[in-house]
Structure formats: C-alpha cells, structure tokens
C-alpha cells in the first residue's frame, strides 16, 4: 500500500527545566557523532555537556546557561541523527530559546556560531536576571480572561504573558515578587497547576528591553546565511527571511512566544507531522492540546528514532 506523503515540521524546544538524565547507556555517550559534537562543544564553548559543567571560564554558577547549552547541543545531535536516518523537515518551528538550534539546523548560522550565541546571550540574560530579580511561572487550566484578571489585580508587578502555549496553558513573566503573588492567586482560581519555572530572568516580556542592544551587539558578530530550510516566525506567522534574523534574535526575548498560533497556522499550511527535536516531549504535549488529530513524535523518546522510517517520509517540500 502506498503511504500518503507527510509534510514534516521539526520543532526545536526551548530551554530544558532540569539537567537531563544521561546514564552511561544513553546514546549520547556511545554514538560517534554525538561524541564528536560534545567534544566540539567543549573545545569552542568550554562546556562539557555530559558532565554538565564548564571546564573553563567563570560561568559555572550560571545554571540556566548550562541548561541552554545542553538543550542546544542535544537538539542538534538529534537533528543530525534524523539526517543520518534520511529524515528531513519541510519546515522548522521553534519555541523560545529553541531559535538558536533551529537556525543552526536551517544552516543559517553554523553550529559553532549558534553555540557561542547560546552561551553569550545566556550570560547576558543571567546577569540581567540577577540585577532585576525576575521570574517565570507555568499556569495550567485557567483561560485567558482569568489570567488577564490576575494581571490586573497585580498591576505594578509588571506581569506579562510570556508564552501563549494553548487555550489553558500560559507562561507568565515578571518581577520575582509578582510571580510569587501570581502563583497562589492562580491556584485559588482553580488552576490545575501553577508553579515557578527554572528561569531566573523574566523572558519574553518588556522587562528584557534593557539588554536588547547588548544582545544585538552579540548577534551582529555572526554571519547569517540564507536559510536552507524555512523557519517559521511565530510572531508574524510567516517564514523568517535572512534579513529578519538578527532583529528577531535581539527582539524575541522581549516578545511573547505565540506557540498556539504558530501550530495552527502550520497545520493550515499543510503540516501533517510535527517532530520534536530535543530531549523531552513537551512540545508534542502542547500540540496534542492544540490539535488532537495531528501526528507528533518526540526524538527524546528512546523508542521513537527507530519508528521514523525514511519510506514514510517525503523529501519533497513542494
């Protein structure tokens, strides 16, 4: 029987929330390609992915930077594994800090540039976080009206919606005291869950504006090339162009992530299969909520790679 052609979107997730469990039998230890990338990461950024520590520099205390680098490297190892299996995307989507791996996958920037951008932008964000005292939390089960109501009650704490992940799934950013107050209010209103995330910075809101110029300075050092695979811009619901990339990178930390709209638009444009390229399956779960009918696979699921067979996959992007 002839299989129907799939239109595939590779999704690059944002920062991991905790150090991933990588036991000795994990493929990251044994696979030659993975080992090579981990060695390259150590050589160029000073970060040892498998031991989750910096071997040089004074960056060891920056936990979120280590998580960001780990997320970046694992996503790209998974991406290269998919390539090795003959599985290629028609389009790429990204969530939050997943942009660096997404751009490296699209070959708009190279692996090393993405690696150093991830580290250096991460450090700018972390230093700013320590200065301003920010935080973020996940709220599940409340609708937009309820979230807006809570924001109004906490006027002055500069609470913003940082991620529009689904109709009842939001991430909020703000000053730390504000987030401390948001969580019990959300729980009192009947949220299924409301808890603080690992981030120390109030990402994806205007509290990040003061570091935009510094980030643009870092971004200006890299060479941006034409994208070989189109990367979808969740803010404009259109594909990023080469000339959009630097301002996008500098601005995205100040703007929300419109993940729900992004997924809906990609489905409307014909995507039939979302493959999450990273260590977890969070984006697959978000997509499940947005559109239960759409096919999803997470490469972080150890059994998934074997199920992704090239004969099921079309390379024809038309």
């Amino acid at each position: 029987m002839r299989r129907e052609r799939e239109k595939i979107c590779f999704c690059f997730p944002g920062q991991l929330q905790e150090r991933p469990h990588l036991p000795v039998h994990h493929p990251l230890h044994g696979d030659g390609l993975a080992r090579e990338i981990c060695e390259e990461t150590l050589r160029f950024s000073g970060f040892d992915v498998l031991n989750f520590s910096f071997q040089e520099g004074d960056w060891e205390p920056y936990y979120n930077v280590k998580l960001q680098l780990t997320s970046y490297v694992i996503s790209l190892i998974h991406y290269y594994w998919l390539q090795r299996e003959g599985i290629f995307p028609h389009v790429i989507a990204e969530h939050s800090m997943g942009i660096y791996a997404a751009l490296a996958a699209s070959e708009s920037i190279d692996f090393r540039e993405g690696l150093l951008l991830t580290r250096d932008i991460g450090l700018v964000i972390e230093k700013w976080a320590r200065e301003i005292g920010g935080s973020m939390c996940l709220v599940l089960g409340l609708g937009m009206d309820q979230i807006e109501g809570i924001r109004d009650r906490l006027d002055g704490y500069r609470i913003s919606i940082a991620n529009y992940n689904g109709s009842r799934n939001f991430v909020l950013s703000g000053l730390r005291e504000g987030i401390d107050r948001v969580i019990p209010l959300c729980l009192d209103m009947g949220a299924v869950a409301a808890h603080r995330l690992t981030f120390s910075a109030p990402l994806h809101c205007d509290l990040m504006e003061p570091v935009r110029a510094e980030i643009l300075g870092l971004v200006d050092r890299i060479t941006v090339r034409e994208l070989r695979v189109p990367v979808f811009n969740h803010m404009t619901l259109s594909f990023l162009k080469k000339e959009d990339i630097k301002p996008f990178l500098a601005g995205e930390i100040c703007r929300p992530v419109y993940w729900e709209g992004c997924v809906r638009e990609l489905v409307r444009r014909g995507v039939t299969w979302f493959i999450e390229v990273g260590n977890d399956d969070t984006l697959c779960k978000l997509i499940r909520w947005i559109d239960r009918g759409i096919k999803t696979t997470a490469t972080g699921d150890p059994s998934s790679m074997g199920k992704l067979r090239p004969d099921e996959v079309s390379r024809d992007a038309s």
Partner: protein
C-alpha cells in the same frame, strides 16, 4: 456508598491512554495502584490538564483545583474512587 468496579477501572485506563495518546501503552501496562506521576507512568502537569478535561467530558466530574487534583491523580484507583463519589454532582 457506590463501589469502584473493575469495569470503571478499565474504562479509566482507556481514557488515560486515549487522552494522552499513549500509543505504546496498553491497559495491562497500567497498574491500578501504580503512581501516575513521577516514577510511575511519568505523567506531568500538562497530562493532568488533559485528564481533568477527559474526566469532565466523559464522567461529568470536575476537579476544582490543584489540591484536589494531586489527591485524585495518585493512581487509577484514586481516580475511580473520585468518579464514583462525585459522578452526577458536577
């Protein structure tokens, strides 16, 4: 007081598999008293939201807040007991 039946337990296991799209999992794989979160099935709060909706849709029971949710979602048996105790009261 109504009793939890094996039929309800089986229905709830099917609901978990269907709502969470656990394609590789069968009802036999889910122990009735096994923890659902963390070490057990490995579910998280995003999964909990799906289950809240599923229970509301299929059984008309409402999980009013996170505190109740934590107690209800300990295992399939605790979900079943909550359904039995609250069906028709939502």
């Amino acid at each position: 007081m109504a009793e939890v039946t094996e039929e309800l337990i089986l229905q709830l296991k099917k609901l978990i598999i269907e709502r969470l799209k656990l394609e590789e999992v069968t009802t036999e794989d889910i122990g009735t008293d096994d923890p659902l979160f963390g070490e057990g099935l490995g579910l998280d709060s995003i999964d909990a939201l799906e289950l809240v909706l599923g229970l509301e849709k299929d059984y008309g029971v409402i999980i009013p807040d996170a505190e109740v949710g934590q107690k209800v979602f300990q295992s399939v048996r605790t979900i079943a007991q909550y359904v039995v105790d609250n069906r028709g009261t939502g």
